[in-house]
Each structure stands twice: as C-alpha cells, then as structure tokens.
C-alpha cells in the first residue's frame, strides 16, 4: 500500500512534465502538418495555374505573338495572390509576363524557388512534345501571422491542457511535501510517545520497588514485634511453678499477638484485593465494645481510650473483620501519633439527609486523638497505599489505605481532618442497613470440650508445625486424629480402610490440592463431611464455590470446635 502510493507519486512526478512535453509536441506537430498541407495545397494550386498559363500561351509563344501571351499573363492578375507570371522562350529569355511587385528577371532561372510567403512554380510550355518555353509563376500565400491564427485554437487547447496538467503536478508535489512533513512529525510524535511510555514504566517500577521496600520493612517490623511477644511468653510458660494468674496473662499475650498478626495478614490480603468482603448485618457499638478489650492493652498506660456511643445506632451491612481492621488501624495510628500519651475517643452516631452523603441514612464512626496531627501538605496523601510518615520499619503505609478501601467498598466513605499539634479525627461513613440484626446467638463459653461426642478425624496438612498445632487442638477437643502429609497419602489411607468420621484438610498443598482431594474422597464416600482450611483467598474462593465448609487460617480453637461439631452432627444425621 505504502509502496504503491510512493510508486504512484513517482510516476506522477515523471508523468506530468512528460505529458506536457508530449502535448506540446503533438500540438506543434499538428500545426506543422497543417502548415505543410496548406503549403502543399497552395503549391498544387500554383502548379495548376502555371500549367494552365503554359497551355494557353503555347501558340502565342510558338508564333511569337507577344501581345497574345501578355494577355494570357494579365488574365492571372485578377487573382491577387499571383505576384508574378513570367513567360520565357525555349532559351529562357523573357517573352512576356506580368509583375505585381518587382520586375521579372530577364532570364528564367530554375534556381529561384519558393521563399517565405511566396510559392514559385514553373511549367514547361510544350507543343507536340517539344518544349518551346517556360512559364514561371510566383504566388503569395497568406502571411505567417494570418496562417498562425488558424492554429490558435490548437495552441489554446494545448496551452490550457498543459496549464491544467502543470497545476495538477504542482498540487501533487505540494501534497507530497506536506505528506513528508506530516510523516516526519508523526514519527517524532511516535518516538516521543514511546519514550514517555518507557519513562512511565521505569517510574512505575521504581515506585513499586519503593513501595515493596516499605511494605516488607513494615511487615517485618510488625511481625518481629508480635513474634517477640509470642516467643517471650512461650519462654515464660516453660518456667516451672508458674502462678496461675501469670500463666493466664502470658497466654492471653500470645493470643493477642497472634490476633494482631492475623489482622496484619488480613490487611495484606485486602491490599492485594484477594480477600473478598463478607458483609454481615452488624451492630457497630457491640463490635467496638468487644474490640476495646483487645485494643486497650496495646495502647500503653499513658493513653486514655474513651467512647461516646449512640445507643440507638442503626445496623450496617459491612465485613466485620475489615471493620475491626479499620478501627484498629486508626487507633494504632492515633497511638503512634501520641508517644507521650493522650486521649483517644471513639464516637458513633446516626446521620440522615445531606450529612449522610450519597445515602439517606448512615452510621458515623469517628476516632479522635490528641496527637501531633498531620501536616497539611501530607493530608491529601494519607489514604494512598504505602504512604507513611513513619520511619522505615515502623509502619507499612497500608493502614489508612485499608480504611479508605474498606469504606469505599462498603458503599460509604472515609474522611480525615487534622490540625498540627492538636490532633486528628478520622471519620467513617457507613450506609445504614434496613435489615434487622440477626438474633444474637447465646454467648457460649469457650467450648473447650466438644459438644458432640468425640469423632475420628483425618487431618491433611503439609506444614508440619501447623499440622502439629491442629492435631493438638483437635486432641484437646477430644477427637482422635489420623495424620496425612499430602493428598495422595490421605487417599491411600482412605483406600486402605482407615476409620474416620470427617476430613479436615489444608487447601494449598504441593501435588494435589485440598479441593481435588475432597472431590476424590467424595467419589469414594459421598456422605463423608470434609472441612477445608486455608489462608489464601484464592483457595478460599475455590473451596467455597464447591460448597465445602471452610475454616480460615489462622483459626482459634473455638472456631475449629464449631466447624468440627457441625460436620460431625451432619455426619451423624442430626
């Protein structure tokens, strides 16, 4: 296509001048031919006239009758084109004649020929086959100017066509130049665009690396803190003769640290957008009150945590885990903003109408601190992922972005107001739900002993530590446990007729996944209850889509107990 157009342009560039040249040549040829034809016709006419004269003066010349010859010559004078008519005898001497312009030569000369606008012809005077003289005739043809006017039409036509072609050719070449310029500009633009894309790519890469650095630093720091608590507490637990109250306190510290670790991984997964929201109809106040017990110990002695909760708060439809994570994130930020202590106040209230924003009714949760506040220049960025004012290793920069993402995903919004030196207020607007709160389940004390009679459980877990923990927990609950380290191992146990009532399997395992294993076991024993467990959101989605009950990692003892009891009850046909 491009080649063809280039070829066309080349052809055109050669064609136009060539066509004009050919046209001019053709015009000239036509004119030349016309001129030649005209001259030939005139020549013939002159020749005929000279022959007529020759015939008419034969006798006069033969018999020397000069006056008769002169009369014949004069007869030609009526034709204004005839300039000269001379009659010469056999020896070429002048005999008679007629001259309009200049005198005739006294002697006939054959050398004289047609010149310019005069055609000269001669004819022999013949009597019975004998030449007795010569007639010499000079005939004027139209002057060149008048002849040329006859060709004016052709000239005009050729001229006009040439002009048209020339204009066309010029237009084409101008277009070609413009096209070249345009193509050049286009190339430049494309180059710049590519350059820009490359630069942006590099920038993104750099930002990603920076973010990753902050994230990993923050996670490492947080986990180290939690691990330190767990490790230290475990060391204390190992000491003999530990008083009961201290043992409980230390154990609680381990549980709290693990809970925070779980929150942290939950945030990571939420950030990676792999954790789907599981909204429930919630009583926000109740959730907050429950959380306070967990939050308070981590705040330290210098920080006072207070609440002002609206007693008739509307229910909301949000993911409880994400809500708790959001509150925790805000509180942790508040704590970090008050290293020398201060006041944190959590407030809830109903709003309606304009204040509620895009929803008619909303529940507002605001958390206020009396900390150092945020610089005005930074406040716009606090909801951005990985933005942090904390030094490296002190925070992930994910906290407030989780708050923002949670609020937005829940159909509400998050706002922040801060005054340097006076403190910060983070406000969550959550749309109120029309649905009533579900009936509150009776608060059960920790079911340390399973309600159902003990069952036989096939535990499939590739991670040894997690497997040991699960075996311990299940054993504590009174169940008998058969261990398998992989899907195939579990299958072979089943095939060998191992006795068990339910299967508790990890989802993400090398070789055969827990979901595949569950499918195969179902083929063998359709009535066998199977519980899956995973920390991966993808595995979670797959498992849930297959309608298997799922226990999310990390799990607490009571969660496990409930899941196993339900499975056993189902198995036993309750």
């Amino acid at each position: 296509m491009k080649f063809a157009s280039v070829l066309m342009r080349r052809v055109f560039a050669v064609f136009v001048p060539l066509a004009i040249l050919l046209l001019l040549l053709a015009g000239l040829w036509v004119i030349y031919q016309g001129e030649q034809n005209y001259r030939r016709a005139q020549q013939r006419a002159a020749k005929v006239q000279s022959e007529i004269l020759a015939a008419s003066v034969t006798a006069a010349l033969d018999f020397g009758d000069r006056s008769a010859a002169q009369e014949s010559a004069n007869a030609l004078a009526v034709n204004p084109q005839v300039r000269n008519a001379g009659i010469y005898d056999a020896k070429g001497d002048w005999f008679a004649g007629y001259a309009r312009t200049q005198a005739l030569p006294r002697h006939f000369s054959i050398a004289a020929s047609s010149v310019g606008n005069t055609i000269r012809t001669s004819a022999p005077v013949i009597r019975s086959g004998t030449r007795i003289g010569t007639v010499d005739l000079a005939v004027a043809i139209d002057p060149l100017a008048r002849r040329l006017t006859r060709y004016a039409t052709i000239g005009l036509l050729v001229g006009m066509t040439s002009l048209a072609l020339a204009v066309l050719g010029y237009g084409q070449s101008a277009l070609r130049r413009v096209n070249l310029t345009l193509a050049e500009a286009n190339r430049e633009l494309e180059f710049q665009m590519e350059e820009r894309v490359r630069t942006e790519e590099q920038l993104r890469e750099a930002q990603k690396m920076q973010a990753l650095g902050q994230l990993t630093g923050g996670i490492a720091h947080d986990f180290n803190n939690l691990l330190a608590v767990i490790q230290g507490s475990a060391d204390i637990l190992l000491r003999p003769e530990l008083p009961e109250d201290k043992r409980v306190r230390v154990t609680n510290a381990i549980i709290e640290a693990s809970t925070r670790g779980a929150l942290l991984t939950g945030q990571l997964l939420a950030f990676a957008r792999r954790q789907p929201l599981k909204p429930e109809i919630l009583d926000i106040n109740r959730r907050i009150l429950t959380m306070l017990e967990m939050i308070r110990p981590s705040l330290g002695p210098n920080i006072v945590l207070g609440t002002q909760l609206d007693g008739d708060l509307w229910p909301v439809n949000v993911d409880p885990g994400q809500f708790e994570a959001a509150v925790l994130n805000i509180v942790v930020n508040a704590r970090d903003a008050m290293p020398d202590g201060g006041q944190i106040t959590i407030r809830t209230r109903n709003v309606a109408g304009e204040e509620a924003g895009q929803h008619e009714r909303a529940v507002v949760v605001s958390i206020q601190d009396t900390g150092c506040g945020i610089e005005p220049a930074q406040i716009r960025h606090v909801f951005e992922p990985f933005f942090t004012t904390k030094v490296v290793g002190k925070g992930t920069g994910l906290g407030l972005s989780q708050v923002y993402g949670f609020a937005a995903q829940s159909g509400g919004e998050a706002r922040i107001k801060s005054e340097t030196g006076k403190g910060t207020v983070v406000t969550l607007f959550l749309p109120a739900s029309d649905k009533p709160l579900p009936a509150r389940p009776e608060a059960s004390s920790l079911p340390l002993i399973a309600k159902e009679p003990a069952g036989r459980i096939l535990l499939v877990e590739d991670n040894e530590a997690v497997g040991n923990l699960a075996e311990t927990l299940l054993g504590e609950l009174g169940h008998a446990v058969v261990r398998a380290r992989s899907g195939p191992e579990a299958l072979s146990l089943a095939d060998r007729g191992a006795e068990f009532d339910i299967v508790f399997s990890d989802v993400v395992m090398p070789g055969m996944s827990g979901v595949e294993l569950a499918d195969k076991l179902k083929q063998r024993r359709p009535q066998l209850p199977i519980i899956l467990t995973t920390g991966y959101s993808e595995g979670l989605i797959t498992a849930e889509s297959q309608n298997f009950p799922v226990v999310r990692k990390p799990y607490r003892m009571e969660t496990l107990a409930v899941a196993v009891d339900e499975a056993l009850a189902m198995h036993r046909g309750h």
Partner: protein, 190 residues
C-alpha cells in the same frame, strides 16, 4: 476566346527559337519579301501542323512523315528544308515535296499554294477544296486566300484563318491557333 477575334497589336517582335536575332522590318508591304520574312513563314508552315487535327487516316503511323508540299512557285528554297528537318510534330518528321500542280497533291498534309503559270492559286485552292489538306497562301503572292493566309501586320508576319474552308476540308484548327489569327472566318454552324 472566340474564333473571330481580330488581332491589332502594335508590338513587333520575333521570338522564335530558330531565329537568332530580331529585325525591324520595313513597312513596304507589297515589296519583295525580305529573306527574314521568308524564313519566318517557312518556320510557321511547319508549326501549323501542331495545331491542326486531320481526319482519321489522313496522317499515318507515328513515325510516318507529315508531307509539306510547295505547289507552284517556291519562295522558300532550301531554307525550308533546313528548318523543317529539325522539326517534329509529336513523333512525325516532316518531308518537303515540291509539286507543279495539284494533280499530284495526294498524300500532302500541308500545301503552300504558290500558283503557277498553268494553275492559278485560286484554281489550286479549288482543286484541293474538299481534301484534308491545310492550304496556305501568302498575301505577297496574291489576294486569293487558303485556309491560312500569311499577311504582314505592323511589319510582322501574321495570318488570317478561314476556318469555314478548313471545315470543308474536314480539318479542325486549334483554338489556340485561331486566337493568334488577325481575322478568322468562322465555320458555319452545321
């Protein structure tokens, strides 16, 4: 040009191919003809052949001669033979025959009637009247006219033509020749 045009031109000039120079002739018309005048007439005699059409059969094949007969007095002499020897009409050469009378004129194509003591010009003319022979007479020899009759006009040798008589002899004389005649007696309409 009509056949009855009368020539009255004052110009006198001899431009014949066989005449080398020009002479102004005296106006002594009835005096003895000058040698030049005779020479011109001799030349004319042969030239007439080119302007006359004989009836079919009168003239032989291409190379057969045209017979030029001098009947009676001969004013030309050897001059005529020399002049005629160089001339041809078409491919026909000329032969000069000198006769005493019209009795032996058979085969003649052109006859100059000089008259003789035994036969007048008029008698000769009468004898050849219905023959296809172009008869030529000369004013200097008598007033009797043949088909062509030489006469001097303005000192130059001219001629009268009796086309009616030519028609009688079944001859056709070219209009070109007729146009040069001093007078022409036209042939009667028939």
């Amino acid at each position: 040009m009509g056949p009855a045009v009368t020539r009255r031109r004052p110009v006198i000039f001899l431009g014949l191919s066989l005449v080398c120079s020009a002479f102004i002739l005296t106006t002594a018309a009835e005096a003895q003809p000058t040698p030049l005048e005779i020479e011109v007439k001799a030349a004319f005699l042969a030239k007439f052949a080119a302007y006359v059409i004989w009836p079919p059969g009168a003239v032989g094949a291409a190379d057969e001669p045209i017979q030029l007969c001098i009947i009676g007095r001969d004013p030309f002499g050897a001059e005529l033979d020399q002049t005629v020897a160089r001339q041809r009409v078409a491919l026909h050469p000329f032969v000069v025959r000198r006769l005493n009378g019209t009795a032996s004129a058979a085969g003649c194509h052109i006859a100059f009637l000089g008259g003789s003591t035994t036969q007048s010009i008029a008698a000769m003319q009468d004898a050849l009247d219905d023959k296809p022979i172009l008869t030529v007479t000369d004013a200097s020899l008598g007033a009797e006219r043949g088909m062509v009759h030489f006469a001097l006009k303005d000192g130059r040798v001219r001629f009268h033509i009796d086309d009616a008589r030519a028609a009688h002899g079944n001859l056709a004389i070219s209009a070109r020749l007729l146009s040069l005649a001093i007078t022409v007696r036209p042939r009667t309409q028939s």
